[in-house]
Each structure stands twice: as C-alpha cells, then as structure tokens.
Amino acid sequence: MLNKQVVKDVLAAAMSTGGDFAEVYVEDRYNNAIEMVSGKVEKSLSGRDYGIGIRIFQGLNSVYTYTCENGSAHLIGVAKKAAAAISGIPKFAGVDFAITPDASKHAVKILPSQVAKKNKIDLMRVGFNSAKSSSALIDQVVVNYMDYTQNVLVANTEGVFAEDQRTRTRYTVSAIANHDGKMQSGSINKGSGKGFELYDEIDVAWIGKESARIALTMLDAKSSPSGKLPVVMDNKFGGVIFHEACGHGLEATSVAKGNSVFADKLGQKIASDVVNAVDDGTVPNEWGSANIDDEGTPTRRNVLIENGVLKGYMVDRLNARRMDHEITGSSRRQSYKYAPTSRMTNTYILNGKDKFEDMIRSIEYGLYAKYLGGGSVNTATGEFNFAVEEAYIIKNGEIKEPVKGATLIGTGAEILNKIEMISDNFDSAEGMCGSVSGSIPAGLGQPALKVSEITVGGREEI
C-alpha cells in the first residue's frame, strides 16, 4: 500500500522534533450500498476511501494528522507539519520492520466486490417479498444491503509493519405496518465479517418475515408499564446491556483518567457471581473481529469479568502509558480520519447454567425483552439507557401480551449486581458503536439473563 522506504522516511520526519513514538496508518477501502424501497432498487452507491493517518507521541501528548495524497514528498511534509507541534531533542535512530503479525485468520471465501450487483439485488428481493407477503397491513418495506473491503497498513517506530484486510457485509429489512391510523416499524439485520458466502448460511427470507412480524405485533401492543420491574433480556442483541452498562466503562478511553465508575477496581467484585464476560477480537470472521487492531497489535481474547470479579480493561498504546497496563489489541478507529483508541471488538456475556423457562417461571410480574435496540452511557456516572424493540408482560410465570415503547435505564455498578440468572442459550448480534474514534462495527452477545429489578420507562402505571 506504501513501500517500506517511504514509510520509514515518513516516520523519521514525524520523529524529527523529539517525539518518542510515531505511527503511519494507510487505509484503502471499497464501499458498496444498495437500497430497495417498495420492492424497487432506489439507490446504489459505490466509492473508494483512501487516506493516510500519522500519529506522534511525546510522553502523554499525542498529535494526529491525516491526508488523502500519498506522494512521498507530500507525506514527509505532512509529518513534519504535525511534528512541529512537539518540541524536544530528536533521538530517533531509524527502525527495522521486524514485527509482521499473521493476517490470515479471517479470510473470506467470496469477496463481495467480485459478486455482480444483480445477485445482491436478487437477495434483497427475497427479503422484500417475504416481509411484504406477511400481511396486507405491511405498508412499506425497505431493504438495505452493504459491503466493504478495507485494506489497512499500520507501521510504527517500534518495528511493527502490519497489514490486514477486513471484509464486512450487512443485510437489513425494515417493515412498517399501518392500520387504523397507527403505524409501527420492525427491523432485523444480520452483519458479518464473512464474504458473500454468508448468504448461503443464513435465511434472508426469515429476516424479512421476522421484521414484518415485529411491526405487526407492536401494532396492537399497548404501552409498556413504568417503574421498577424484574426483566428477562433475551440473547443476541440483548448483549447491548453489557455493552452500555459496563463495556464502555472498561475502555481505557474512560478508565485512564478516572472517568469511569470501574476505574481502580481491578480484582474487585463488580458483578454478581454468575457473570463472566469477555471482549474477543479473534472470533473467526465475526462482525467486530480482525487479525490486528488499528494500531497493528494482534487481536486477542480479553477476559473482562470472571465470576463477578473485574479482571481487565481494554487498553490502547497511549492510555497504556497513563495506566501502567498492557495493551490489549483492541484499539480501533472508523477510518484514517480518526486517531485510534480503546474500543470493544466482540463483547460477550458467557453462558450460565440456568434455563430460559425457569427464569420466566420465577417472575410473578415483569417484562420479557425479546429484541433490544440501541442505547448510550455516561461512563463517569455509570448511568445508561437502551431501547426495547419488542417486549411482553410476564405474569405469574408466563409470557403474556406484547407491550411497546419501553426504555430500560440504570447505573452499571448497580445493574451488574442484579443479574440473578444466566441461561445457556448464548447467541450473538451485530451493532454499530459510536464513540471518540468514530462509528465501528461492534459484535455483542449473551445468553438470556434475568435482572432482579431495573427501571422500565413506559407510559402505563403498573
């Protein structure tokens, strides 16, 4: 992507004013996106992103700059301009690129860019037809397809010269049901780090049908109750609870400066005994996986919580200096336009021993959240929220009528201790996570779990 001599010259220019570490990140990415509305292809977009990011450290200070032009003289000029923000005695003596991590672990079988657009459209039509034919009340169906292939090169003054190719594809069906002046939407998506072979393994007709089913179910649902209730959150996207309530608070981005309720708690009990959680960037071809992170460090499986005890944080190179903690291979960025920092890859709560049926049976009056939506957290206070897309009332140990419009809120420190039961039906899902280094694909997952009490923001009194 850039030859080694050019990279060496750029690193030397970056170090010319006394920096103690410099890094070059090159990204070349091809994007494809198609949108189908009412069964007709409405938009099709493709493009190429290309840019180079240069980062310099001096102690705890960092300088970041980027450019889209890759001529050697231009890049050296950009590096020198960035280096001008640092003043010190230059001591850089050159670098040998001795560290080249393995980049073969997440190979794809069929590169989406090699697949004709017609095949992608055929696939979209299957989802459309399946959703539309579910019911006459389905008024609108939108199908989105996207894929990209991102080639990256990360090289630094510690001898790393790492290349990686990341392929992602995602398929989404959104259905809108309309009846008697009421409108409700349902949406299901599947994303993956596999190539186009993904679509031989999943049933896109089911995705269409399921999105329509949610819209239809919610059409007749009454408003959710409000107040503190026991809640069962199902698997897959249910993992958003750990992502928001705890995950962000374990990223060095917030921990390093003490802006997390989980700072200085290593080795301490922060969750109930049944909780085991990991952040694992090595899961083969998963949504948040890669061979290397965006600092060139091989990804790994990081144990975050073991039997309720905090075991580790997610730490990038810069924050490792502040925290006296090893780097964990989970420093990420949206694109060359962002400096990387510690982020989640695939964050999971692991299987427990309880049975789903027993959880439901244990609740006299509560909520069963089948599909969850997005959320957010303030890591300094630990206060989090996330939306529920499809929920049901649990009454006398049985799942009853559907309810809509609930948001669940709480604080991380409190909720982790209220996870009472964890089942054995682990499954994962795929989301987009937005934070300081941009929007990135983040995997999440969990088995169904029961929280003894959480504030449910609905509209009906219990």
Binding site: E42, S46, R48, T65, C68, G227, A339, A387, T407, R459
Partner: protein, 449 residues
C-alpha cells in the same frame, strides 16, 4: 478543484452515454486541540476532500465517489456510476438543476479565525481548564474538552449549466466536567460557538459546565406519574431535531410519516411555529444553495400549529407538483441526495423562564435527554428517554432528580405544548442546527420508582 480533471470526467461520461452529469466537491480543514492538567493532550490537524459524481442514464441516476483524483479515478467513477444507474428500478423522475433562480448572498467565512495564532487557541483552552477546576472544590476534572476549528468549501457543477460555490468556517470550544461530593458524581457540558475566535467566552463555558453539574449532585429518582413538564431550551431543540424526518417529503411519499395528508391541517398547538432559515448570519447551517444547487429559501414548516409545507428536493417536489423548497442534502460527498432542514428556529414566547416555572404547582424541569438515537420511534412517534433535571414544587425549582425516563408520543406532545419562554438558544448537540426556548408541556409520563 482541477477544472481540467472535471472536463475529462464529463467527456468520458458523455462518451459512455450519460445524458447529464454532475460533480459535488467538498474540501474540509479542521484543527482540534484538547488539554489535560495544563498540558496539550491532543492536537489534530486534518485536511481532506472528496468528490461525488452522479450521472443520468435513461432517466436513472447512478452515483460514485472518490477521494483520489488521478486518471484511474475518472474511469472508476464513470464505470461505477454506470453500473449503479443500470440497476435502478425506481420510476421517480430525476433531473439536475440548471442554475436558475435567485441566490441570496451569505457571508459565512471569516478569515480572522484562521489568522489567530495556534498559541492563542492553546492558551484559551488551558485558561478554560484552569477556570473550570478553580470554580468549586467539588469540581474534579474535565472528562472531555476541545477547541475545534472547521473550515470548508463546496463546488457543484453540472452539464446543464449549474456552477455554484461557497465556503464557511466557524470555531467552537466545549468542556465536559466531572464533579463529585464524595458520594455522588455528576457531569455537565458547556460550550460556545462563534464565527470569530475572539468572541469565544471561557467564563461562559466554565460557568455552564459546572453550575448544572453541581446543582445535580445528590439527585435521586422520583415517583412515577403524569406531570406538567418544562424542557430546557437546547434540550427541546435536540428532541425536535431528532424527529425532523416526519417533515421529509420523501418519507411522506413513501408512507413513512404519519403527517401524510395533513398539509394545511393543525398538527401542533398554536404556540408552536417552526421555521427553516437558511440565511441566518452566524448560524452553522446557512447556505445560499442546497445540495442540488437550488437556491435556498426561508419558510415556516409549521406556523401557529398548522402544517405549511414538507421539505422537498427536486425529485420529491416534481412528484408532488410543487417547487423544491431548497432542502436537498448530502451528508458528505459519500452520500446520495436526500432531504434535510438548514437552521431550524422554534419561535419563542413572551414569558421569562422564571415566570413559566412560577405557574407550576407540581412538575418536572428536564435539562437533559439521553439516548436520542435509540429511545425514539419516528414512525409511531413514541418515545421513552432517560433524562434528568429538577422537581418543580409550588412554582420553584426543587431537588435534583435522575434515574427517570420521560415518555409519550411526539405527535401528541406537539399538540400538548402550552407555551414557550423567551430564553432562545441554539444547541450544538442536536443533529440539525436547531434553536428553541424552554417549553412547557401539559402532560408527560415520568417513570421512576
């Protein structure tokens, strides 16, 4: 922008059979500075640009974009746009603007911002940090802070004669502060934005970021119930901004907005007037032309509760048999043409904020809403959002409350607006640049204990 490169692109495009072609070129430059404990912690310099190419083949439009401007990119753009046009099945009529119409001149670029030295901007941030940390002993640190300076320019040029260009810049400074009294921790945000660096006020930011956070210390939940609710000016601006899709003509035409068929009808209380104002000096989304090069205009979207217009681009306007409202949008050169408002202004009322509170016997004053990207449904209008603020008791602000949610339906809320105060302010946290005064809603559900 290299004219010769564009000529070559258009030449190849017409040779391949495109009837009309257009380029949309954007160039941006930004400087970001953060400090921590009296030192520069982060210093980012960036410059980037990209070009969106779209072209019409047999009435269908194909898009492609690039960030590289070499010979190979010309071929890539034409080939990709061709492939993308060939698969379009939508029968919507697409055409490009010829540059006709009256363009209001807007001065959005102030050279002086970039002329102030980097040193003075670093000094500003160090001073801001110091001012915040010395406000009160319960102020612990800055969770985030930044001085951001952005400048950009746009060129839209097509084969039908359109050739428009503009440039803009602004600067802003912000700080998120962490305060703690030993048992409770709270955060607050303060910011200032200007088209002139010399006008940014550190003391204003410092007081804003610390005062609400300190006042929130000790906040606890409250009893669930239905209350009259006052929502803070910039917080209500964020909520309105999040729901703007309901006025988007494309969503209306596709049965994705409940406002379909309600033009001219009453959709909100008489106290509610919403104006799209693209010509406002000093506002962040001012422009004399939209993303299709059509001249922008100031108009009421809702006037005293009545729905006056949807927001249109050329495609949706043609379909509805009206003129474009100049609201074509493009998030960046990577996007396709969509629809978006410019600067949004919600008209203020006459009362002061204190007078508005005085009238409430028992209620809630909400100063912040969380999870606006997740907790709202723009189709049904339902929302349920984590929030915090203060109790209102006997006409006065009372104890701080948090760990509560506010829920309702946006369409009902619009009709349930009692009045606005006269404390208008733009929010920089809203998706679109939106300003509002604090608002009183008669009934909203609060969930807590």
């Amino acid at each position: 922008m290299n004219e010769k490169w564009i000529d070559q692109l258009f030449e190849l495009g017409s040779k391949k059979g495109f009837s009309d072609q257009e380029v949309y070129y954007m160039k941006n430059k930004s400087t970001d500075i953060s400090v921590f404990q009296g030192e520069i912690e982060k210093f980012n310099l960036s410059e980037d640009g990209g070009l969106s190419y779209r072209a019409i083949l047999n009435g269908k439009v194909g898009y492609a974009y690039t960030e590289l401007f070499d010979e190979s990119s010309i071929e890539m753009l034409v080939n990709e746009a061709m492939q993308n046009a060939e698969i379009i099945e939508s029968e919507d009529e697409i055409y490009f603007h010829d540059g006709s119409g009256e363009y209001t001149q807007i001065d959005n670029y102030n050279e002086a911002i970039e002329k102030s030295s980097i040193e003075s901007k670093i000094a500003f941030m160090k001073n801001l940090e110091n001012e915040i940390l010395t406000t009160d002993e319960r102020v612990k640190r800055l969770a985030q802070n930044g001085y951001d300076e952005v400048s950009g320019s746009r060129v839209i040029k097509n084969t039908k004669g359109l050739n428009v260009t503009d440039q803009y810049n602004y600067c802003l400074a912000y700080a998120m502060t962490v305060v703690s009294d030993g048992t409770d921790t709270r955060t607050g945000i303060g910011y200032d934005v200007s088209d002139d660096f010399e006008k940014l006020e550190a003391s204003k930011i410092a007081s804003e970021t610390t005062s609400e956070a300190l006042a929130m210390l000790g906040a606890t939940s409250m009893k669930s119930g239905v209350y009259p609710v006052v929502i803070k000016n910039e917080t209500f601006a964020q909520l309105i901004s999040a729901y703007m899709g309901i006025f988007n003509a494309e969503r209306v035409q596709k049965n994705m907005s409940k406002l379909k068929g309600q033009l001219g009808e009453s959709v909100a209380s008489k106290a509610f007037t919403l104006i799209d104002h693209p010509h406002l000096q000093g506002a962040l989304s001012s422009s004399s032309f939209d993303a299709e090069g059509v001249a922008t205009i100031k108009k009421a979207i809702v006037e005293e509760g009545k729905l006056k217009t949807f927001l249109h681009n050329l495609k949706t306007a043609t379909k509805d048999g009206v003129a474009s409202t100049g609201n074509a949008s493009k998030g960046s050169y990577k996007g396709t043409i969509g629809i978006a408002p410019s600067n949004l202004i919600i008209e203020s009322g006459e009362q002061s904020f204190d007078e508005m509170i005085e009238e409430i016997e028992s209620g809630v004053y909400i100063i912040s809403l969380q999870g606006l990207h997740a907790g709202i449904d723009t189709i049904s209008g339902d929302f349920s959002l984590q929030c915090y603020g203060f109790e209102i008791k006997s006409g006065k602000l009372g104890r701080p409350v948090s760990q509560i949610t506010i829920s309702g339906n946006f369409f009902d809320l619009l009709k349930d607006i009692e009045c606005f105060a006269n404390d208008f302010r733009f929010s920089i946290l809203s998706g679109y640049y939106t300003g509002s005064a604090s608002v009183k809603i008669n009934n909203l559900t609060i969930s807590g204990e």
